[in-house]
Amino acid sequence: MRKYLHVLGIGIQNTLVYRVNFLFRAALGLIPLLGTIFVWRTIYGGKPPGDHVAGYSLAAMTSYYLLVTFVDALTAVAEDDWQIAADIKDGNISQFLLKPVDYFLYRFCLYVSGRAIYTTVALVPVAIFAWFQREHLVAPADLTAALGFAASTLMAGLLQFLLAYTSALLAFWVLDVSTFIFILFALEYIASGHLFPLDLLPPALTKLLMLTPYPYLCHFPVSVYLGRVNDADLARGLAAQAVWVVLGFGLAKFVWSRGIRRYSAAGG
C-alpha cells in the first residue's frame, strides 16, 4: 500500500509543475460556458417570466452548466489516456510486468493526484465565475441530494477513469489510438449531458440513453444535486452506476489480459 501512496505523492509533484497551465485551461474553458449561458438567457428572455424549459428555470439551467463544469474538473481525464497509450507503444509498461507494482493501480493513483491538483487550481476561476452568477445559483435540494451528489460524483470519477484506461488499451492493437479516443470523447460529450441537460431531448431518446453508462458520468450527479431525482430513482441510479463501475472494471481487466498477450515490448 505504501508504494501506491508514494506514487500519489509523485503524481502530485509532477502535476504541480503544470499549475499555471491548469489555471489557463480552466479560465479559457469558461469562455464557451459563458457563451452558452448567454444563449440560454436570451432564450428565457423571449419567454414569459417564470417560464420553464423541460422543467428547468433559468436559475436551474445556469446551475446545471456550472455543476457540469465542477463535476468535469473533479472527474475528467486530462492526459491519462494519451500517456497510457504512449506507455504501451513505447514499451514502457515492461517494467511494470517485472516489478511488484500493478499498472492499473499505478495509473489510478496518478489520475487521482492529477484531479486533486486540477480541481484545486480550477476552483479559483470557477469560484470567481460562480460568484458573478450567484443570483442564478441554487443550493443542493436537500441533504439526501447533497450526499447523493457526492456519492455519484465519486462513482462518475471511477467510470471516467475506467473508460479512459480501457480505450487507451486499444494501443495494444492499433498504432494510433488518438482518433478512437476523440470519437469516444465526442460521444461522451453529448450523451453524458455535457452539452445540454439530457431531459431536453425527446423522452424516448433520454430513456434510451439512460440505458448506457454515459449519463452516469455527468448528467446523473448534476440532476441529483438539483433535486430532479426522487429517492427511489436515486437509489436505482446509484445502483446502476455501481453496476457500470463493476462491469467497467471487469472489462478493463479482461482487455488488459488479452492485450498483454499481444504486447511486443517495443524499444526493449
Partner: protein, 267 residues
C-alpha cells in the same frame, strides 16, 4: 506579380508533399475526417435541441443559426487546412532551434512557417460546412443574389485573416515562453463563440471584448448575415474588414519583434 506567382507555385508544391505524406496512413486519414464531422454534428444537434424549446434566439430562426454554424465550421476548417498545424508547431521549432533553417531560406519565413503543411483531410469537412449552409438556405427558401455571394466570399476571406492573425499572435508568444502547445486547445474555445448568434449577447464587457479585441462575434456572423440579408448597415462589414487589416498588421509587427530577440537553441 512574379513574386506572387512564385509563392503560389511554392505553396502548390507544399500541398503536393502534404498529400503524399497523408496517403501513407490512409485509415488514420479517413478516421480524422470522421472525428471532425462528428464534432460538427454535435454542434448542429445542440442547436437542434435548443430550437425544440424556442422559436428564436435573439431574432435568429433555427435555419439561420444552422447557416451560421455551417459558416463557422467552414471558416474553422479553412484555418485547419492551411494554418493550424503549422502555427502549433512553431513552439517546437523554437524549442529545438530548427527555426534557423527556415530563416535561412530565400523565402519569407513567416509564409513558409504558416503554410508548410496542408491538411488535405479537412477539405472534406470544409465542404461539409458549405453543404450545411446550402441546406439551410434551401430550408429558408432564400436564393442569395450574386452580390451577396461575392460579398460573402470576401467577408469570409476577412474572417480568415482575423483567425490567422490572432493565432499567429498566440503562437508567437512561444518566442518568450517556449511552450505554447495549449494554443489549439485555447483557440477551440474561442471558435465556440464564433458559431453563436451575436444578438444573443447583451451589450457589455463580453460583447465588447469579442467584437473589438478578439472579434469572434464578427468572423462568421457578418458573412452569414450578409448572405441571408439580415445585415442592417454596412458598418459591420467595414468593421470586420478593418479588424482583419489591423489584426494582420499587429501580428506582423509582433512577429518581427519576436524574431529580433530569437537566440536559437542547441547550436
Amino acid at each position: 506579380m512574379t513574386t506572387l506567382r512564385r509563392y503560389f507555385s511554392l505553396w502548390l508544391d507544399l500541398c503536393r508533399i502534404s498529400l503524399v505524406q497523408e496517403m501513407m496512413f490512409k485509415v488514420n486519414f479517413l478516421l480524422w475526417i470522421v472525428v471532425e464531422a462528428l464534432w460538427f454534428g454535435l454542434q448542429l444537434a445542440f442547436m437542434g435541441v435548443l430550437y425544440r424549446h424556442t422559436d428564436s434566439i435573439g431574432g435568429w430562426s433555427k435555419w439561420e443559426v444552422i447557416l451560421l454554424s455551417g459558416c463557422s465550421q467552414f471558416l474553422m476548417q479553412l484555418v485547419s487546412i492551411v494554418f493550424m498545424t503549422n502555427l502549433t508547431n512553431l513552439s517546437e521549432l523554437i524549442r529545438t532551434g530548427k527555426l534557423d533553417f527556415f530563416l535561412l531560406l530565400p523565402v519569407n519565413a513567416r509564409f513558409l512557417i504558416s503554410t508548410r503543411k496542408f491538411e488535405v483531410g479537412n477539405c472534406i469537412n470544409a465542404l461539409l460546412g458549405l453543404a450545411v449552409m446550402a441546406w439551410a438556405l434551401a430550408e429558408l427558401r432564400h436564393v442569395p443574389t450574386v452580390a451577396q455571394v461575392c460579398g460573402f466570399v470576401l467577408l469570409c476571406g476577412a474572417g480568415l485573416v482575423v483567425h490567422y492573425a490572432l493565432m499567429t499572435m498566440l503562437a508567437t508568444m512561444a518566442f518568450w515562453t517556449v511552450r505554447s502547445q495549449g494554443i489549439v486547445w485555447g483557440y477551440y474555445n474561442l471558435f465556440n463563440i464564433a458559431r453563436l448568434p451575436d444578438s444573443a449577447f447583451p451589450r457589455g464587457v463580453f460583447k465588447a471584448v469579442f467584437t473589438f479585441a478578439l472579434p469572434m462575434l464578427l468572423v462568421s456572423n457578418v458573412p452569414s448575415k450578409l448572405l441571408v440579408g439580415r445585415l442592417e448597415s454596412p458598418r459591420e462589414m467595414l468593421l470586420l474588414v478593418g479588424m482583419a487589416g489591423l489584426g494582420f498588421a499587429l501580428s506582423e509587427w509582433l512577429w518581427r519583434r519576436a524574431l529580433r530577440q530569437y537566440t536559437s537553441a542547441s547550436s
